[in-house]
């Protein structure tokens, strides 16, 4: 697989006016995304997910580190607005209603990215129709305004607008969090189908873990601007090793009262402020496994096989491997299938 995007030791600090301290939004983040692959960045709000996304688009300049897109470095001068990168990286936003111009018809909105690429008008119209068909929009929707569409349809417009330039990478910043469950699953299905057809790389930023489980090939768990654990989706969900990942996974409430949440690891309190972070592990103040060395230095990444990286001193003691899989999604799936596949007419 060819790497589309590679991020090396990305750091982004925001200065605070009238003060010497800085907001350490992103601290030493490294990952890569290949063609046809989805990498999910998950974490709570304030963990720096969106800042990473904005750095990749070159909308803000990183404090340190390197972002390479198809061999080209991305920075403030050389970004999505530059001629040779235009349309190669696209973005789908969180709030579909707010990311569409309420006074422009849907068809024009979808075709807009092509204008800056200088395509002819007839060409554009043909492509707009083609994209609308692909994302499952009726042709009459092209002549409507955003307010006339449902939230799910609006998000389809957002996706059509992103794929019309045939991008190499799409940054999806919480594209489903504003949708109802039924619309959400449809949009996710659409994204998966499109990825198979177009072989695009997705960077999927989300805090919705059940969506992540379904959509992504690899998962990176972020906490206070750091990726504390990353690995294949299968590994992270069935054998999470970092106390934070385990806490995060056990907080998800699946619609089945018998799937008790595994309560061995419960996180206390909330995400601390990213101003003047401590020297040690950022989770030390919330972690039930904390010991002396945790507050002294940040643990290095430990590779526990097939690219599964964990930043934790005690990850071997956190989870008892004997107990087998922790993948509650899989158990939920199995039970849901049993329950829902019966009783059809």
């Amino acid at each position: 697989m060819s790497v589309v995007l590679s991020v090396q030791n990305l750091i982004k600090h925001f200065p605070i006016a009238g003060s010497r301290s800085v907001v350490q939004a992103v601290n030493n983040v490294s990952f890569s995304v290949s063609r046809g692959e989805t990498l999910a960045l998950v974490g709570e709000s304030g963990s720096g997910k969106t800042t990473v996304g904005r750095c990749i688009l070159g909308l803000i300049d990183p404090t340190g580190g390197e972002i390479t897109f198809q061999g080209n470095r991305i920075d403030k001068r050389n970004n999505v607005r530059s001629r040779h990168l235009r349309g190669k990286i696209q973005l789908v936003f969180q709030e579909p209603a707010e990311s569409l111009d309420p006074r422009i018809r849907i068809g024009v909105t979808i075709g807009e990215p092509l204008r800056s690429l200088g395509s002819a008008r007839e060409d554009r119209d043909k492509q707009v129709r083609e994209m609308a068909r692909r994302v499952g929009l009726e042709e009459e929707a092209l002549y409507q305004y955003p307010a006339e569409l449902s939230a799910g349809q609006q998000q389809r417009v957002g996706i059509a607008r992103a794929i019309i330039t045939d991008p190499e990478l799409i940054v999806l910043d919480e594209p489903t969090s504003a949708l109802d469950p039924t619309a959400r699953s449809e949009v996710i299905d659409l994204l998966i189908t499109l990825q198979k057809e177009l072989d695009t790389a997705y960077l999927f930023i989300s805090h919705d873990l059940s969506t992540v489980r379904y959509l992504s090939h690899r998962v990176a768990v972020m906490y206070l601007g750091m990726i504390v654990e990353q690995g294949s989706s299968q590994d992270i969900f069935s054998r999470p090793r970092h106390p934070y990942s385990i806490g995060l996974l056990s907080s998800v409430l699946l619609p089945n009262p018998r799937l008790e949440r595994h309560s061995e690891v419960s996180l206390q309190g909330e995400i601390p402020s990213p101003i003047d972070l401590p020297n040690g592990c950022f989770l030390a103040s919330r972690c039930p496994f904390v010991e002396a060395q945790c507050s002294e230095r940040m643990p290095d990444a430990d590779d526990i096989g097939s690219g599964h990286l964990v930043h934790c001193f005690k990850h071997r003691d956190v989870i008892d491997d004997e107990k087998g899989t922790l993948d509650y999604y899989e158990r939920f799936q199995a039970e849901a299938e049993k329950l829902l596949s019966s009783g059809q007419q």
Partner: protein, 328 residues
């Protein structure tokens, strides 16, 4: 669960219709005959999509439907009193005192110019007629009870100085300070991160249980109801389409809409396809006077298009409004 052997009904809603007039067209019927009973000490989860009438129901219980919206018919009884017959003054005494509401978006709903301690204490001063000092002490105790770290300092904080999770706890403190008998939580945890959400839910459940109160837990997330509610009610287009004990509901969901909601969580597109119609096939079934869900339903028959289904009991404590409930 309540400890009393035969818990009595604290809230009784019968045939509640609420509509909002629309210029030059038929009014939007937000609630179409809601029947709902909540027993003492019971926690009932109300699940529905956006626009299904969840918030209207909460506002109707509080007698806060604002013009031009109107209650067309039906009655709401709280502890044996018909709320619509009470004067504004009597209602003010009930709101916050007997029935309290936990709202979403705490940071926009709290008064930004008043410290959170004072906002909590004001409720106690008004409703319990306490002198300032005692009210302040009570507010401080409440901040402690909702597990806000360093309550002395937070007492003097303004809402913008708090994180989302902490502001939500403040709203809970405001709702719970008068030990209400009935609590309405309107999508109260939707803005929170998952780890904070579980903490807040646990806390809310503990406090409600300690006070022996009942709760109507309104949410879009059916997952929450599985773990924190005794009963689940599914609302669709202003109608309750299924209501059951949590265990019964999740073991044996009957209404095609409930099954569709559950299948939306499934990672299996085939399973989802089985229970939901593609968007282009969805038609508006309201006009024919049939089942409101018929246009989206995979099991719809001719009867469904003509005849509006009545709520019927499948087994004790499990009701469904459907001509063709899912049988297993």
């Amino acid at each position: 669960m309540a400890t009393t052997p035969e818990p009595s009904t604290i809230l009784n809603i019968e045939g509640l219709h609420v509509s909002y007039p629309v210029y030059e067209t038929a009014p939007v019927r937000a609630l179409r005959g809601i029947d709902l009973q909540v027993r003492e000490g019971e926690n009932i989860g109300l699940v529905g999509e956006s626009g299904s009438g969840k918030t209207t129901l909460a506002r109707a219980i509080m007698q806060l439907i604002s013009r031009p919206g109107r209650v067309d018919s039906g009655r709401i009884e709280f502890a044996g009193r018909d709320l619509s017959k009470l004067s504004e003054e009597e209602l003010r005494a009930i709101r916050g005192d007997d029935i309290a509401m936990v709202i979403p978006n705490p940071r926009t709903e709290l008064n930004p110019l008043v410290t959170v301690g004072k906002q909590i204490a004001n409720v106690a001063r008004y409703h319990l007629s306490l002198p300032r000092k005692e009210a302040d002490a009570m507010a401080m105790a409440m901040l402690d009870a909702v597990q806000i770290p360093d309550p002395k300092r937070r007492f003097k904080a303004y809402p913008h100085e708090l994180s989302g999770g902490m502001a939500q706890r403040v709203v809970m403190a405001i709702a719970l300070i008068c030990s209400p008998r009935f609590i309405i939580s309107d999508d109260a945890t939707s803005g929170l991160d998952v780890t904070v959400q579980t903490q807040v839910l646990e806390l809310l459940q503990d406090l409600v249980q300690q006070q022996g109160a009942s709760m109507l837990f309104i949410t879009r997330d059916i997952g929450i109801t599985a773990h924190y509610c005794h009963q689940v009610a599914i609302i669709y287009a202003g109608e309750i389409v299924e209501i059951a004990d949590t265990a019964s509901f999740f073991d044996n969901p009957q209404h095609p809409y409930s099954v569709m909601l559950l299948s939306a969580f499934s990672h299996n597109p085939k399973l989802r396809g089985m229970w939901s119609k593609p968007e282009e096939l969805i038609e508006n079934a309201e006009a024919g006077g049939g089942c409101l869900f018929a246009g989206r339903c995979v099991r719809a028959s001719d009867t469904c298009l003509k005849e509006h289904p009545k709520m019927r009991s499948i087994r004790p404590g499990h009701g469904v409004r459907c001509h063709h409930p899912v049988e297993r």
